[in-house]
C-alpha cells in the first residue's frame, strides 16, 4: 500500500469521482488556479479544466446555494469551504434549502451534494477560526454528517459521500492534512453510517472522531503502559450514527469515555451518552464520562487554547474516573 498524506487521499477521492462521473464538479474559494488553500485540490484544474474546477468569489451563501440549485437538476457538486467557520455564512442555504428539498417537495428533488472543509480548532487561529460544528449540523433532519480521522477513511468516505444522493456535510481538519497513512492503490469505498474500531480493548471504550481520535489513541497508548486496555471507536459518520457498533463495544467494556473537540452543551457526545444510558443502562459499570472543550470561545494564547481543548491529562483522568482508579 502507498503511504500518502491526508490531503492527497482526499484529492484522489475527488479526482477519481470526477473521472467516473461527468456530473461531478468542484467549486470553492481558491480550489483551482491556487490549487486549494490547503492543497487538497492540487492538480485538479490541470486534470479537469476550468469547466469542472471553479474558483468562487468569497460568497459562501451564494456558491453553496449555486451548488444546491445545480444538484436539483442533476449535477453532483462538491462545494469546498476553506473552513467550516466560513461555511456558516451558507447555513441558510444548507439548513433551509439543501436539508429540506427532498422532504418539502414530497420526494421529487434529490440533493446529491457534498459540502466539505476543515472543522474544529487548528493551532492558535483565534475565536473565529476554531469552531467545531458537528453538534449544530447533526441536529438537522435531512443532512448526513461525516468525519474522518485517517487518510484511508478520508478517501473511502469522501468517495461514498460524492456518490450519495443526499446532502453530505464532510468534516476534515487543517491539522490532519499533512498526516500520512496507508491507502490502497486499488479502488475502495467506505459506506456512510458505519463506524470503525480503531483499537481493540477490553476495559474501557473511548469514542472519538476527527482530530480528537488521535488524542484518544495517544491516551490509550499511555494507559496501556499502566495495564489498562482501551478500545478506541471512531463513529466516522455522526448522522446517521452507527449505534449498533457503539452498543456492542459498551456491552464488551461496560465503561465509556467520549472525547470531542467541541463544546459540551447539547453535543454529539451528549447525544451518544444519552443513547448509551437509554439502551445499555444495565451494561454500564460507571456513568459515561465526557471530555469536551471548555465552554468558552477559543482563546488565541497557546497555553490557554491547549487548556480549552481535550488533552491527554483530562482524557486519562476521565478513563480512571470510569474505572474507579484513584490518582
Amino acid at each position: 500500500m502507498a503511504i500518502i498524506t491526508f490531503r492527497e487521499a482526499l484529492g484522489q477521492a475527488i479526482s477519481e469521482e470526477m473521472t467516473r462521473d461527468a456530473n461531478v464538479f468542484l467549486m470553492g474559494e481558491e480550489v483551482g488556479l491556487y490549487n486549494g488553500a490547503y492543497k487538497v485540490s492540487k492538480g485538479l484544474l490541470d486534470q479537469f479544466g476550468a469547466k469542472r474546477v471553479w474558483d468562487a468569489p468569497i460568497s459562501e451563501a451564494g456558491f453553496a446555494g449555486l451548488g444546491i440549485g445545480a444538484a436539483m437538476v442533476g449535477l453532483r457538486p462538491i462545494i469546498e469551504f476553506m473552513t467550516w467557520n466560513f461555511g456558516i455564512q451558507a447555513f441558510d442555504q444548507i439548513v433551509n434549502h439543501a436539508a429540506k428539498m427532498l422532504y418539502m417537495s414530497g420526494g421529487q428533488f434529490n440533493m446529491p451534494i457534498v459540502f466539505r472543509g476543515p472543522n474544529g480548532a487548528a493551532h492558535m487561529l483565534g475565536a473565529q477560526h476554531s469552531q467545531a460544528y458537528e453538534s449544530m449540523i447533526t441536529n438537522i433532519p435531512g443532512l448526513k454528517v461525516v468525519t474522518c480521522s485517517t487518510p484511508y477513511d478520508g478517501k473511502g468516505l469522501l468517495k461514498s459521500a460524492i456518490r450519495d444522493n443526499n446532502p453530505v456535510l464532510f468534516l476534515e481538519s487543517e491539522m490532519m492534512y499533512g498526516m500520512k497513512g496507508e491507502v490502497p492503490e486499488e479502488e475502495y469505498l467506505i459506506p456512510l453510517g458505519k463506524g470503525d474500531i480503531k483499537r481493540e480493548g477490553t476495559d474501557v471504550t473511548f469514542i472519538a472522531w476527527n482530530k480528537a481520535l488521535h488524542k484518544a489513541t495517544e491516551a490509550a497508548e499511555a494507559l496501556a503502559k499502566e495495564g489498562i486496555s482501551v478500545e478506541v471507536l471512531d463513529p466516522r459518520t455522526l448522522q446517521p450514527l452507527d449505534e449498533e457498533l457503539i452498543f456492542a463495544s459498551v456491552r464488551k467494556t461496560h465503561r465509556v469515555v467520549i472525547i470531542e473537540e467541541s463544546w459540551s452543551f447539547g453535543s454529539v457526545g451528549s447525544q451518544i451518552s444519552d443513547r448509551i444510558h437509554k439502551e445499555c443502562f444495565d451494561e454500564l459499570d460507571a456513568p459515561v464520562s465526557r471530555v469536551t472543550n471548555e465552554f468558552v470561545p477559543m482563546p488565541y494564547n497557546e497555553a490557554q487554547e491547549e487548556r480549552v481543548l481535550p488533552n491527554l491529562d483530562r482524557i486519562i483522568a476521565a478513563a480512571k474516573e470510569v474505572l474507579y482508579i484513584k490518582g
Binding site: L75, L102, Y103, S105, G106, F109
Partner: protein, 327 residues
C-alpha cells in the same frame, strides 16, 4: 419602460392569456375563501392583481425552461403546468397535492414541469436559480431559468452574491423582481436606497429593464425578447416588473399601511384582466359576452380544483417518515 411597437401576437394567443388570467384570479379567490372556511391553515399569500405578470412571463417560456419562485407562487406553478387541482390539494395538505401535502402554500414543486419551488426564505431561491443557470451552461443547453422574487428580496445579501456570479460567469438567469411596492407592510421606499430596483443590476454590469407588470401583452413581448436573446448569449438579466397586489401580504393581513383609494385605483384603472378585455373588445376579437363566458369557465375550473382537493384523501400518517433522506 420598454418601447412600444406593433404587436405580432395573434388573437388566439391573446384569448389564451385572457382565459389564463381569469383562471389565476378565480383560483386565488377560491383559495382565499377556502382559507376563511378553514379548509386549511398556515400562511397563505395570494397573487391577485399580479396575474398579468405571471401569464405574460409564462407564455414566453418553453416547457424545458425552468422556473423558481418565492412564497407567492400558487398560480405561477399552475402556469408552469401543475394541475390546479394538485395545487389546491397541496394547499389542503392532501395526498394528491403536488408535494403529497408535505410542502403547502409556500412550497409548490414539480420536477416533471421544471417548477423548482415555492421557497419560504426571502431571496433564498436566487442562489438556487443561479445553480440551475450554472447547470444549463455546464450542459451547454439553450433553456433558461426564470427566478421570481419580491421587491424586498433585493435587499438580501445572498441575492447580491449570486447576481455577481451570474453576471461574471454568464449564467442564463432571468431575475424578475415583482415590485408590488410593499415588503409585507413596509413601503419599499422606506427600506431601499434606489428609486428603481433594476438599478441593482448596475452594480454587476448586468442587463436590466423594467416593464409594466399590469399589462400582460407588454410583459409577454418584452420577456420573449429577453429570453430568446438569453438562449444565445447566456447573459443574466434583471427585470423589474411594476405590479400591485390587491390583497394583503397574506390572508391574515388587513393592509392598514396603504390607502383604500390606492388599491381601488389599481383595480379600476390598471387591472390586467380588464385591460386585456378592453383591448380584445376594441379590436373586435371578442364580445363582452364572450369575456363573461370565459370568466365563467375559469370559475368552473377553480371550483373543480377545489372539489378535487376536497375529495383527495389525507396522506397516511406514516408518510411523515418518508423523504427525509434518499435510502
Amino acid at each position: 419602460m420598454t418601447t412600444k411597437k406593433k404587436s405580432a401576437v395573434d388573437r388566439d394567443v391573446l384569448i389564451g392569456m385572457y382565459k389564463q388570467m381569469c383562471l389565476f384570479r378565480r383560483f386565488e379567490e377560491r383559495v382565499g375563501l377556502a382559507y376563511t372556511k378553514q379548509k386549511f391553515s398556515g400562511f397563505c399569500h395570494l397573487h391577485i392583481g399580479q396575474e398579468g405578470l405571471a401569464v405574460g412571463v409564462q407564455s414566453a417560456l418553453r416547457d424545458s425552461d425552468y422556473m423558481i419562485s418565492g412564497y407567492r407562487s400558487h398560480t405561477q406553478a399552475i402556469g408552469k403546468g401543475i394541475a390546479p387541482g394538485a395545487v389546491m390539494a397541496e394547499l389542503f395538505g392532501k395526498v394528491d397535492g403536488c408535494c403529497r401535502g408535505k410542502g403547502g402554500s409556500m412550497h409548490m414543486f414539480s420536477n416533471e414541469h421544471n417548477f423548482l419551488g415555492g421557497h419560504g426564505i426571502v431571496g433564498g431561491q436566487a442562489p438556487l436559480a443561479v445553480g440551475v443557470g450554472f447547470a444549463i451552461r455546464y450542459r451547454n443547453q439553450d433553456n433558461v431559468i426564470v427566478c421570481y422574487m419580491g421587491d424586498a428580496a433585493t435587499n438580501q445579501g445572498q441575492v447580491f452574491e449570486v447576481m455577481n456570479m451570474a453576471a461574471t460567469w454568464d449564467l442564463p438567469v432571468l431575475f424578475i423582481v415583482e415590485n408590488n411596492r410593499y415588503g409585507m407592510g413596509t413601503d419599499i421606499t422606506r427600506t431601499t436606497s434606489v428609486d428603481h430596483l433594476w438599478k441593482r443590476a448596475l452594480a454587476f454590469d448586468m442587463g436590466h429593464s423594467d416593464v409594466d407588470g399590469m399589462n400582460v401583452l407588454t410583459v409577454h413581448e418584452h420577456v420573449t425578447e429577453l429570453v430568446e436573446k438569453m438562449r444565445k448569449d447566456k447573459k443574466p438579466h434583471l427585470l423589474e416588473a411594476l405590479t400591485y397586489r390587491y390583497r394583503g401580504h397574506s390572508v391574515s393581513d388587513p393592509g392598514t399601511y396603504r390607502a383604500k383609494e390606492e388599491v381601488e385605483d389599481y383595480q379600476k384603472n390598471r387591472d390586467p384582466i380588464l385591460g386585456l378585455g378592453r383591448q380584445l373588445v376594441d379590436k373586435k376579437w371578442a364580445t363582452e359576452e364572450e369575456l363573461k363566458a370565459w370568466d365563467n369557465e375559469a370559475k368552473e375550473k377553480a371550483k373543480e380544483a377545489e372539489a378535487f382537493a376536497d375529495a383527495s384523501p389525507q396522506p397516511a400518517l406514516e408518510e411523515l417518515w418518508d423523504h427525509v433522506l434518499v435510502p
